[in-house]
C-alpha cells in the first residue's frame, strides 16, 4: 500500500506545482493583469487651477471667472424620480430624458454628465429642487466673465483645444489634453501660460461602485494645482468705455498710448462684440454668428487693419529731411499746386506751415530732397541711395514691421524699399518720379493704427518710444515686463521736432484738426484723409497732448467717414480731454461724434 500512498502524495504536490506555475504565469510573466487592475481601480483626477484675473491700470476688474455647472447622474442611485417635474424644470422632453438615460445604461454606477454649462443664474433657480432628485448632483467649473462688455478682441476668447493645437502641443510642451480649454486669441492667448497656472493631477483608487476610497500609492504621483497669475493691464477702463461709446456704430480703431511708458491706455476695435457671448452654453452659436458678420468683428483693427498713412506721414518726412541736413526748419520754399494735387494755397512754406496746412507740394519737394541728394549724377542711382537712407529712418520708427506688442496677430504694414521697386520697375529703372506719392503717405506704404499711435508717442517724446503693450505687470510681484522697459531711439535729434510739433499744434488750434481743440490743453495733432478707392475716404487723426510733458498719444481711424478733421479729430480730441481733464465739456462735439454723420 506504500505505492498508493506515494501516488496520492505525488498528486497533491503536483497540484501545488501546477498552481504555482499558473500563478507565475499570471503574476510575474504576464503584465496584462497589473495593467488591467490599474485601469479598473485607478482614477485620474484633474484639478483645474483658478485662471488668472485681469485688472485695469486702476485695479478695476476686467476679466474674472464665473462658476458654471454640470448636472451629473449616477443611474443606479436614481430613485423615485418625478420625471415629469424633472423634465419641465430642466426644460427637456421626456424623449430626450429617456434617450440620455438609456445611453448610460452600461455603467450604472458611474457618474455621467447629464447636462452641461448651466449658468450661475439658472443654477440658483433650480438649486433648491435638486434634493428631490436622488442620484443627480452638480459639479462646478469656471468660465470667463467680463463686467464690461468691451475689448473683446484685446481680451480674446477661450475655447476647447483643437486637434491641430493638440498635435502641436504633443510635439513640444505636452501640457494639454483632449477637452482642455485654452486662450485662442488676444491676451488670453498671449499670456496663456501665466493665466492658466498649472493643473494638479492626483490618482485615486476607486472601488467597484466608482467611489473613491483612497490615494493611489499614497499620492506619490500627485501634483498640486498652481493657480494662474493675475494680470494688471495698462488699460484705463473708464477711458476705454468712453472711447467705445464714441466709436459705437462706426468701423475703425482707437489706440491711445502713454508716451512715457508705451502703455496702451485704451484700444478700440469697432465694430466689436460682447466678450460674454463667447463663454458658456451658447459659445458655438454665437461664434458662428460673429464670424459670419460682414463687418468682421473678429478682425482686430488696431493691430490688423492696414491703411496708407496719408498726411500723418508728413511729420516723419520733415524730421528725416532735417536730420539729413537737406531741410532747415525756417527755410521758405515756394509751392504752388503744379507738382501734385493740393488743397493748400500757393505761397512760401516752412516746416511749420507745411504741417499746419498739410501742403502736398511742400512735402513733394521735401521728400525729393531726401531721395535725390545729388550724390550721383544718375537720378536712378541717386534715388536708390536716397530711398535706402530714408528707409533706415522709417525702420527706426517701427514701421514696416510688426510691433513688439503682447498681443498676437499684429500686422507689419508695408514700407517699400529698394528691392520692392526693383521688382516693380527693374533695377535702376526707377527714380523719385516713380515713388513721389510716398511723400504724402500714399502709394505702396501701409501702416496700422497702433503704429500711428506709436508715431504720436515718438513725436511726444521728441525722438524715442517704448514698445506699446497692454499688460503692465504679472502676478503678485507687480513687476513690469523687462522687455517693455527698453527705450528705442529713432535717430532724430530732439531739436528737429520743435518745428514739426509747432505745426501740429497749429493744426489743432487753427488748421484741419480744429474739432480736436480743447480750450485748456495744448493738443498737437495731424489729420489724415486716407484715399479709399472702394468708397468714402477713411478719416484718420494722430495726436499727442499736452505739448509739454505729454500724457497721451493717440491714433483714431474711422472708415468711410471722409475728412480726417471731422470724425477722427473729434473723437481723438474728446478722448484726450476725457483722459487729461477727467470729463468732457464740449457736448456738441461729443454729440457730433456719437451721431456719426460725418459725410455731408
Amino acid at each position: 500500500m506504500n505505492g498508493r500512498r506515494l501516488i496520492i502524495q505525488t498528486a497533491m504536490i503536483l497540484v501545488g506545482i501546477v498552481f504555482l506555475g499558473k500563478l507565475f504565469a499570471i503574476q510575474v510573466a504576464d503584465s496584462k493583469y497589473a495593467y488591467k487592475a490599474e485601469r479598473i481601480s485607478r482614477r485620474k483626477v484633474i484639478e483645474y487651477p483658478h485662471r488668472g484675473l485681469i485688472f485695469d491700470r486702476n485695479n478695476q476688474l476686467l476679466v474674472h471667472n464665473n462658476p458654471q455647472y454640470d448636472l451629473l447622474v449616477v443611474p443606479r442611485n436614481v430613485r423615485n424620480l418625478d420625471t415629469t417635474r424633472f423634465c419641465s424644470l430642466f426644460e427637456i422632453t421626456r424623449e430626450e430624458f429617456n434617450k440620455k438615460m438609456r445611453s448610460f445604461r452600461s455603467y450604472p454606477y458611474r457618474p455621467h454628465t447629464f447636462l452641461t454649462k448651466i449658468s450661475h443664474q439658472r443654477f440658483a433657480e433650480i438649486q433648491d429642487f435638486l434634493v428631490d432628485f436622488e442620484g443627480f448632483s452638480v459639479t462646478a467649473r469656471t468660465v470667463r466673465a467680463y463686467p464690461h462688455p468691451v475689448m473683446a478682441n484685446a481680451f480674446g476668447y477661450i475655447s476647447e483645444i483643437s486637434q491641430e493645437q493638440l498635435t502641436a502641443d504633443k510635439a513640444s510642451e505636452k501640457y494639454y489634453q483632449q477637452g482642455d480649454h485654452l486662450g485662442q486669441s488676444g491676451i488670453e492667448r498671449f499670456y496663456e501660460e501665466e493665466l492658466r497656472g498649472k493643473r494638479g493631477v492626483s490618482y485615486k483608487i476607486k472601488n467597484a461602485k466608482e467611489v473613491v476610497i483612497g490615494a493611489y500609492e499614497n499620492g506619490k504621483y500627485d501634483t498640486l494645482a498652481i493657480p494662474g497669475q493675475n494680470l494688471i493691464s495698462t488699460i484705463d477702463i473708464d477711458l476705454q468705455l468712453y472711447a467705445e461709446k464714441l466709436m459705437a456704430g462706426k468701423v475703425g480703431s482707437v489706440v491711445a498710448i502713454e508716451p512715457s511708458t508705451g502703455e496702451i491706455l485704451c484700444m478700440v476695435s469697432a465694430p466689436s462684440y460682447d466678450p460674454n457671448l463667447l463663454t458658456g452654453k451658447n459659445y458655438s452659436d454665437n461664434f458662428l454668428e460673429i464670424s459670419n458678420d460682414t463687418l468682421k468683428p473678429f478682425f482686430n483693427r488696431p493691430l490688423m487693419a492696414m491703411y496708407p498713412p496719408g498726411s500723418m506721414f508728413k511729420t516723419i518726412q520733415a524730421l528725416i529731411a532735417m536730420q539729413e541736413g537737406v531741410l532747415r526748419p525756417n527755410e521758405q520754399i515756394y509751392c504752388d499746386g503744379t507738382l501734385i494735387g493740393d488743397h493748400a494755397p500757393n505761397g512760401y512754406y516752412d516746416v511749420r506751415k507745411g504741417i499746419k496746412l498739410s501742403s502736398n507740394n511742400y512735402f513733394f519737394k521735401v521728400f525729393k530732397r531726401i531721395i535725390q541728394q545729388g550724390e550721383d549724377p544718375s537720378p536712378f542711382i541717386d534715388s536708390r541711395s536716397g530711398l535706402r537712407k530714408w528707409k533706415n529712418y522709417i525702420d527706426a520708427f517701427g514701421l514696416g514691421r510688426a510691433p513688439n506688442i503682447d498681443l498676437p496677430s499684429a500686422k507689419a504694414g508695408n514700407i517699400p524699399g529698394v528691392a520692392d521697386y526693383d521688382k516693380i520697375y527693374g533695377e535702376n529703372r526707377w527714380k523719385f518720379s516713380n515713388i513721389y506719392s510716398l511723400s504724402i503717405g500714399q502709394g505702396e506704404v501701409l501702416v496700422t493704427p497702433i503704429q500711428m499711435a506709436n508715431l504720436g508717442a515718438i513725436l511726444a517724446n521728441r525722438g524715442h518710444y517704448y514698445d506699446p503693450h497692454i499688460i503692465k505687470s504679472i502676478g503678485e510681484s507687480g513687476e513690469a515686463k523687462q522687455a517693455y522697459l527698453q527705450k528705442h531711439e529713432v535717430g532724430i535729434d530732439a531739436v528737429h521736432f520743435e518745428s514739426v510739433i509747432d505745426g501740429m499744434e497749429e493744426v489743432v488750434q487753427a488748421g484741419s484738426g480744429l474739432r480736436a481743440k480743447v480750450p485748456n490743453i495744448a493738443i498737437c495733432g495731424k489729420t489724415s484723409t486716407v484715399e479709399n478707392p472702394h468708397g468714402y475716404d477713411h478719416s484718420g487723426f494722430m495726436a499727442f497732448a499736452p505739448k509739454d510733458n505729454p500724457q497721451i498719444a493717440i491714433a483714431v481711424y474711422v472708415e468711410n467717414a471722409g475728412w480726417g478733421g471731422r470724425a477722427a479729430a473729434s473723437i481723438a480730441g474728446l478722448i484726450i480731454e476725457k483722459y487729461i481733464n477727467g470729463e468732457v465739456s464740449r457736448k456738441w462735439i461729443e454729440d457730433f461724434a456719437i451721431k456719426g454723420e460725418f459725410i455731408y
Binding site: R4, I8, V15, G16, L20, I26, Q27, A37, G214
Partner: protein, 425 residues
C-alpha cells in the same frame, strides 16, 4: 494529570502550528478583503467579517478542548451516531431552511446560522473509517464497497437537493481514500478519463471528438481482432470506445439540458474567461486581475487596490485567495501553497503512522477533504476550475466552515495522540 501530560507530549504540535498560521493569516486576509479606507474599521470590529471571524476562531477552541477531553474511543464508538445526526440535520435543512444566495443550507440557531453540510464531511469521514476498520470488512467484497458508496452517497444526494452542488462534489474525494484502502484503481482511472472527456467536450467540437474516439477504438479493435486474433480484447476495446462516445454525448446533453443556466455559464467561463467579463466571467476575471496584479512580491497588507475596491465578489469567503495573490504576490502564494501542501503531507504522515485502521482511514479522509477544498478553491480563483462555491479551509470567512474543519483536523490529532495506547488493543 498523567493523562493530560501525555496528551501534551504526544500531540502533533507541527500540525497545530500549521493550523494556527493558516487561521491567523486567513483572519488578516479577511480583514484586508473587507477593509475600506473610507470607514477605516478596526480588524476587531464586530460589524465586519474579520471581527466575527475572530469570534469564530475563539469559539473553535471550545470544540478543540472538548475533543481533547473526550475519550479517543468515543469517535469510533459514536461514528454512526454522528453520521445519523448529521443526515437528520441535512433533512431538517431541506425542510426548514431559507434561501441564501441560491443554496438552501442554513439552520438558524438563535443569532447563529448553522450549516450542517460543513459538519457532514467530518461525520461521513468517521462513518467511512468505522466501516473500513470493522474486522469483517473486505474491500474486495462488492457488498462492502456498495456500503461505502451508500455512506458517501446519502449526504451527497441530500446536499445536491440543497442545490449546493459544490459541497456535494467533495464526497467524490472519498474514492481516493477507498483507493488507498485497497479499492481497484479502475474506478479512479475511469473517473479521471470521464473528467478528461468532459473537459475535451468543452473545448473540441463533438463531431470530431466522437469520430476520433470511435475511429481509434475501431482501429484498436480491428488490430486485436485481425492481427492478434484476440476477439475478446477487441470487444473490450469497442466497448470502451462506445462508452467514451456515450460520455461525450452525455456530457453535451448534461451541460445543455440538465445544468441550470448559471452552472452552464460557469463552465463556459472556464473555456473562455474573456468572453463575458461583465457577466458570468465577472468573478473569475476580477479574481485573476487581482491575483495577477500582485506581481512577484505583492502590493502589501491592505495595499491591494482590487481587494480594497471590492472588485472581487465574495472575497472574504470563496475568493479569499485573491487577497493573498494580490497583497503577497507570487512569493506569498508560494508560502501559502507550501504551507498547505506541508499540512496535507503531514496529515498523510500522521495517518500512515497509525496502527489502528480506523485512525488511518480517518486521517486519509481528513487529508483528502482538505486537499479537495484546497485544489478546487484555488483552482477556481485562478481560472483552472469552474466557479464552485466551496471555501478554502481555515482561510475563508465563515463560522460553520472553520468549526467544521477544526473539528475534522483535531479529531485526527486526538486519535494520533493516543496511537501508542491503541497498540494494546
Amino acid at each position: 494529570m498523567r493523562r493530560q501530560e501525555n496528551i501534551v507530549n504526544q500531540i502533533d504540535w507541527l500540525t497545530i502550528f500549521l493550523y494556527l498560521i493558516l487561521v491567523l493569516w486567513g483572519w488578516l486576509n479577511i480583514y484586508a478583503a473587507v477593509h475600506d479606507d473610507t470607514n477605516n474599521n478596526s480588524i476587531f470590529d464586530l460589524s465586519i467579517n474579520s471581527g466575527r471571524q475572530l469570534i469564530f476562531i475563539g469559539a473553535s477552541f471550545i470544540p478543540i478542548m472538548v475533543i481533547m477531553i473526550i475519550d479517543f474511543k468515543f469517535y469510533d464508538t459514536f461514528a454512526y451516531i454522528f453520521y445519523g445526526v448529521t443526515i437528520v440535520m441535512l433533512l431538517v435543512v431541506l425542510v426548514l431552511a431559507r434561501d441564501v444566495s441560491g443554496a438552501r443550507a442554513w439552520i438558524d440557531i438563535g443569532a447563529f446560522k448553522l450549516q450542517p453540510s460543513e459538519f457532514a464531511k467530518a461525520a461521513t469521514a468517521l462513518a467511512v473509517a468505522r466501516t473500513i476498520a470493522s474486522s469483517t470488512f473486505k474491500m474486495e467484497k462488492l457488498k462492502n464497497q456498495m456500503l461505502l458508496f451508500a455512506i458517501i452517497g446519502l449526504p451527497t444526494v441530500l446536499i445536491i437537493l440543497q442545490d449546493d452542488v459544490g459541497t456535494a462534489m467533495v464526497y467524490a474525494i472519498f474514492l481516493v481514500v477507498f483507493y488507498r484502502e485497497g479499492m481497484s484503481p479502475i474506478l479512479l482511472i475511469a473517473g479521471i478519463v470521464v473528467a478528461t472527456l468532459f473537459v475535451l467536450t468543452l473545448f473540441i467540437d463533438n463531431l470530431y471528438l466522437t469520430l476520433t474516439l470511435g475511429g481509434l477504438a475501431l482501429l484498436i479493435a480491428l488490430y486485436f481482432a485481425l492481427a492478434k486474433k484476440k476477439i475478446r480484447v477487441a470487444f473490450i476495446a469497442v466497448g470502451i470506445g462506445v462508452s467514451m462516445v456515450l460520455v461525450v454525448l452525455g456530457t453535451d446533453f448534461f451541460i445543455n439540458e440538465v445544468l441550470q443556466p448559471h452552472q452552464r455559464s460557469r463552465i463556459n467561463t472556464l473555456v473562455d474567461p474573456e468572453a463575458d467579463e461583465k457577466g458570468a466571467g465577472y468573478h473569475v476575471s476580477n479574481s485573476k486581475i487581482a491575483i495577477g496584479s500582485g506581481g512577484f512580491s505583492g502590493k502589501g497588507f491592505l495595499a491591494g487596490t482590487q481587494t480594497a475596491g471590492g472588485y472581487v465578489p465574495e472575497q472574504s469567503t470563496d475568493f479569499i485567495f485573491a487577497t493573498i495573490g494580490e497583497e503577497y504576490g507570487w512569493l506569498g502564494s508560494l508560502i501559502m501553497i507550501g504551507l498547505f501542501i506541508t499540512l496535507l503531507l503531514r496529515i498523510i504522515f500522521i495517518a500512515e503512522r497509525q496502527k489502528w485502521r480506523f485512525a488511518r482511514v480517518y486521517g486519509y479522509c481528513v487529508a483528502c477533504i482538505l486537499f479537495f477544498h484546497f485544489g478546487v478553491n484555488i483552482g477556481m480563483t485562478i481560472g483552472l476550475f469552474p466557479v464552485i462555491g466551496i471555501p478554502l479551509p481555515f482561510f475563508s470567512y465563515g463560522g460553520s466552515s472553520l468549526l467544521g474543519f477544526t473539528a475534522l483536523l483535531f479529531i485526527l490529532l486526538k486519535l494520533d495522540a493516543h496511537r501508542k495506547q491503541v497498540l494494546i488493543r
